[in-house]
Assembly symmetry: D2
Homo-oligomer: 437 residues x 4
């Protein structure tokens, strides 16, 4: 296995930590920075690595440091939330505000509104002041109290705002594109020689950010997706040759589709971006679906929004949305139409029910496992920021919270490995052909 180099794993810092942490919470243990968290749990790989004389590839551990970089009495902090909704954003905001206030004694946290747009000089809306009182119950609601938006803003303009507002630490809650933006902010800040830390908390309902075992909100999303699959199953059972077709989130990665399939037990076909499929021909999806209906007279199909893009987009189609993402073709309605056409041509009566629950899922409040995870992510983001780390995100790997350089994160995308156990379990659970091609 090829590991990232020690250089790539090294987290940027603004400078030395020389201020003793205020011991407001008397007992929180200090993290031992010497104790890195290995990237792999594979004994053979690790053994080989050491024996070849290389250091073990390891993340810097997250946690409270004995000395910190920023003076809690004077540092000003900001939070911004970007991209689509995801369960738990408010929990992270709340955790950051409470940790800044109670652990460090920082006062005055600024909540920039509506994503990076709220950092633009031309923003039409002022930041909110966030206090323990104002964030007290926000974790009970989905969404983000700060509002969000997609897409980048002018980097220099945003850094101007940070300077004007005398921000010391900016917490950025967002996904792939947002983290690229955070990295660009860090670079510009460094270029100007400013002392502003930019700390990311990875938010991706698709779970497609690498080096975080499971992103926050994902467990809640799978729970909500399972409920929709259950509805699709009832609708499929309720009609002769009933077909429940559910489009789930997943632009490039089929994690929600795959895990919701495994959490449910009623999916017969799970289609994800990582595993191409064909519609037609003997080995195609439509024929497999026909077989299924002949045997059982009902079927449930789950399709990730990014699956089968080769079927719905012309090769030269290259439109992008506000976030800079390639605009996806709508595989859901495409499949619905293709299925209807196929069976109409064969004069087979089918009833298709189409489900597109994306926004109902994204807007849920965090379930318990996500709520607790968000609490910890927020705390460790503050620990990292106060310690002068920058251009990094908080990760979770091999049962430990970690510091992960953003450049490492945005260099690749987390995806299902079709050879891996999760996808193989999906094949077993659905009984779908391993290849439909």
């Amino acid at each position: 296995m090829n590991f990232p180099s020690p250089k790539d794993l090294k987290v940027s810092t603004l400078g030395r930590c020389e201020i003793p942490v205020p011991r407001r919470s008397a007992t929180m243990p200090f993290i031992d920075e010497a104790r890195g968290i290995v990237l792999s749990a594979d004994a053979a790989d690790l053994q080989a690595c050491v024996q070849s004389g290389q250091p073990l590839p390891a993340f810097e551990p997250a946690g409270l440091r004995e000395t910190i970089y920023f003076n809690p009495a004077t540092v000003a902090c900001g939070i911004v939330t970007c991209g689509g909704l995801c369960p738990g954003i408010n929990n992270v905001i709340r955790s950051i505000v409470l940790t800044l206030t109670y652990t460090f004694g920082v006062s005055g946290v600024r909540g920039f509104r509506y994503g990076y747009a709220g950092l633009a000089s031309q923003r039409g809306y002022e930041p909110m002041m966030l206090t323990p009182e104002s964030v007290d119950r926000i974790h009970e609601f989905g969404g983000t109290i700060l509002g969000s938006s997609r897409g980048p803003q002018d980097v220099a303009d945003m850094v101007d705002t940070l300077e004007q507002d005398r921000i010391g630490i900016l917490f950025v809650i967002g996904g792939d594109g947002t983290l690229r933006g955070a990295s660009a902010l860090s670079t510009e800040i460094a270029r100007r020689g400013r002392r502003i830390s930019v700390i990311g908390v990875p938010k991706t309902i698709d779970n497609d950010i690498p080096w975080i075992a499971r992103s926050f909100g994902f467990a809640t999303a799978v729970e909500a997706a399972r409920a929709v699959i259950n509805s699709a199953h009832q609708e499929a059972l309720g009609a002769w040759n009933g077909i429940g077709l559910v489009k789930l989130m997943g632009r490039h990665s089929g994690f929600i589709a795959a895990h919701a399939t495994l959490a449910s037990c009623d999916v017969n076909f799970c289609l994800v971006p990582e595993v191409p499929f064909v519609l037609d021909g003997h080995a195609g999806l439509l024929r497999a679906l026909e077989h299924r209906l002949e045997r059982k007279h009902h079927a449930v199909i789950v399709v990730a929004e990014g699956a089968g893009q080769e079927l719905v987009r012309r090769p030269d189609d290259n439109q992008h949305d506000a976030s800079g993402n390639v605009k996806l073709g709508d595989i859901g309605t495409f499949l619905k139409d293709q299925i209807a056409e196929y069976f109409a041509a064969r004069q087979t009566e089918v009833t298709i029910r189409y489900f597109d629950p994306s926004y109902s899922i994204r807007s849920q409040p965090a379930n318990s496992i996500d709520a607790e995870f968000c609490l910890a992510l927020g705390q460790h983001a503050v620990h990292a920021g106060m310690a002068g780390r920058t251009n990094m995100m908080v990760g979770y790997w091999n049962q430990h919270f970690t510091h992960v350089p953003i450049p490492l994160v945005v260099a690749q995308r987390g995806q299902l490995d079709p050879q891996d156990l999760v996808w193989q379990r999906v094949l077993e659970a659905t009984g779908q052909p391993a290849t439909m091609s």
Copy 2:
């Protein structure tokens, strides 16, 4: 107020009830048929009616009779479920089977599959035999174990099937169109001089069947709709000028839209078929929405699927679906597009999130209040059938279960009265203009 005439309220019967009911359940009280249930609770109306020498307009009460028409030892029964899914269908099936078995000692209940299609001689699927064991846990699931379908079948052909299968009582669970079908079956049966009772249990997620205070599944549907509205609210809050647009069920009647609006507290515009609206102009929806966004920067719109049809259908467009219903234009996507266009033209940035949760709602299992209601409806359907009633449905009015002649039911449609309190509460709760015209 104009009441139906006594003739219209009279329930058809197959003949005299001369068989003593088997006292298996020792204590269920016998209903006193003399005690009709008045249609109105208005003291002034009732007083005037009596004083004018007319009998009070009243439904025959539902309930167990001391003597019955069918011999429980020999009568065969059938159940059929038609139309779209609705929470509680399985509960009604279960209640009918258990009551036939345990209260009357009837054995062998036939479950016709996939709606009226399962009564056709050319049906491709055999009926299921329903027993207390086979229906024991079905109430825990949404949908219908029998399957359903839309649309009518040849009436004579269906009566042939009933005769061949020697069915004595057919229980029909379905809506408006289904009840018309049940009535046609009764007429044909009477024409042939057969002794087959046809008993309806009204199923309408739109709650648009008259003379039943609240149809089964409606409370569950409103609960599920409220959850989606909550999601729409979070999505609206999460973006600058965020608009959550939710399309709910309601082809001709806005009950779900109105009641979900009242159960939620986050709806700013509720659009229903009963109250026409215009999009454009000073008093139109779009201008009102713009005002709302200017003040609050987020808005939630709930639209019943049958609202605004004058906007989306050409006057000469008269297509019908399998159930014989006029095909509705898609007001949801129409509104979404119109709103986008309106604000694009004004260069106002808005973010629209569209929700179409229909099938996720229809497929829910019954909540507690619906579960109990279904139990009673099923029991009373059996009581009515065993007593030789026919061409009637079980109703619930003024806190009593009733027998309602189907011809009375299908003569009109239950709709919101814009002058009535429910709609007025919607206007107060939303703050929307009383007229957008």
Copy 3:
């Protein structure tokens, strides 16, 4: 049937309504006071009544009046919540505040804290000022933002407070004892010749207040109780001779126990205060339970807290709690011990799981049907108060909201009638012997 006399149905008023209602909400229809709501829907009874020359027994209808008693510009209002928690209290508070503010233009609603104790001159806590902003989201939470307490306070002292605070309308949300207190306040106010309206909103999780078809919070409570019964069923199934024993609310009335039994389908014995039972002997509960276990090896028992009091209280035991209610013996743990003893004596291995979910149920937020009901109750309470009604509560009967004199309400208690359909359905659903005595 014996109806209350017209005198008993007459609602007290403070005086003539001479102030035109401010038409802030342009279209809310005015109620026609002539149109009373009949107490019975029984055609025979009503017919007989008219023919005997008596007026039909009817409630005054609730609703907005064209002219009102209080001047919205000057009247001050107060709200107090008393007794145990019940889903929906916050919804009622919110509805009252919003209706006072937006429909009538009243400003400054005072929320007295912690029940009647908050009206005492020696109260240790000041009222909260309630505004549309402060109550905006409270309906999303269970409990009461005002706090509550049990038990009466000195009536004269409370009226002193109302006078000092220049309260014109006091809204009292509470049960049986609370309404008695409200009536006493009215009487004292009348004795002093003051112009203070006291309007009750009946709150009883036991559903034991008469003349309201279903009290608010009840549907939510039954839903939560059903979930616990489901747990009891799983625990019973999970052990050889497993017994799930669930104690539910219901001091004098078994409504929750009965309706949760009907909404569930897993209860084998339902015990309520209205139907005495014996433990021992051939026809006793213990022998019946033994039979059940011999056949099925698992059983679920639901017992209302007020059931079987003759078994657990000594005849001379007459302790009262803070609300003035007789202290109940703990039938739940008594039954648990008796069952354990009975089977131990027979060397029959049983596993008993005991559930006492009372406070988990009471503290739920209102479900949709209750939320909408609370909205209407609050509106009509305000309509009644502004119209100068007093010593009355808002009711709901025969599908209409009504004004019900409190003396009529506290004269009797709503209870299950063992001869009636609900209890008979319970007997059928459980299969328990009609008498265990």
Copy 4:
């Protein structure tokens, strides 16, 4: 750090795997047995270990082997579920049955009833035959379809039964005591020289089994516990000096109490077995509670059932329950009484609400994350059994499923480390004093 020795990590096997696995599911990847899963993710520890010339401490990986020990055509399998209910047991049963059937082609899986008692020769109940059809929907329900019981049985007698029934693989789903029993079975089987594999699937709602990062059902239990804490919070808010006291599971380990505290945000005191506390004195719980009430007038306390045993048990009290566990004193009611007494003595009015939701939580169906986890655990249990492993359980560590020798598991107990981050987060989230002693 001290790691277990390689010997302690070595999994017992019945013999060589020489039968090629039937390739029914064409693509499930084979696991590479050489790739152990390291026990620690600490780079420094691992580096030191290798440099000292020792092999890295690692678990054998779980997964499908290319060759297996048992002949799928002839092997008979059994499943037994022991101890208290836990969400997900049925999911594990279902996964084992489906994997045996569809992956390996094994037919005829025997479900022993009611725990180890179902393996006794004197059992009063026959095993169930488990087929894909009979287990198809069981995952939708809590509990265990096999039933369960506590406590051991005679080991030789149970092995006699296994021999008589010609069982090749016995799957044991249970906790600490159950796994000890499984180990004893393995030892006796080995003594007799029989070829019977005993594979454990660790079930512990307390999450107190070591070397599994999170046991199945735990996430569901925390979710349910959070809901109860929310109720306790509402009840506490609803009364002047309201105290919500919640007893949660956790005989020796406070994981549920701690994680539910972190998932909620409303707990003020969290008491666990690992952190002793005193009631009285300046630093005691009662004084701290009094301070809290003086400031806020409401408080929520969560107590694990095994907390504060030094307060409720006499040192010489050594009673054991059927499972051989020390009988715990009831800390919940003890605290309730002590709190009541303390404030009564100070004439401070408080209202205490006590919650004991244990069985309501244990009986829940698995949430999505647990459902998927159970699916994988069941698959890997079958993989291990077919490969002739024995006296081991399936674990999950550092993001991989593993084989863990049972003797290693039962040698210690998983507990909260008071110095560790989870407990420190609890202290921060509650604001409770780090020591109450």
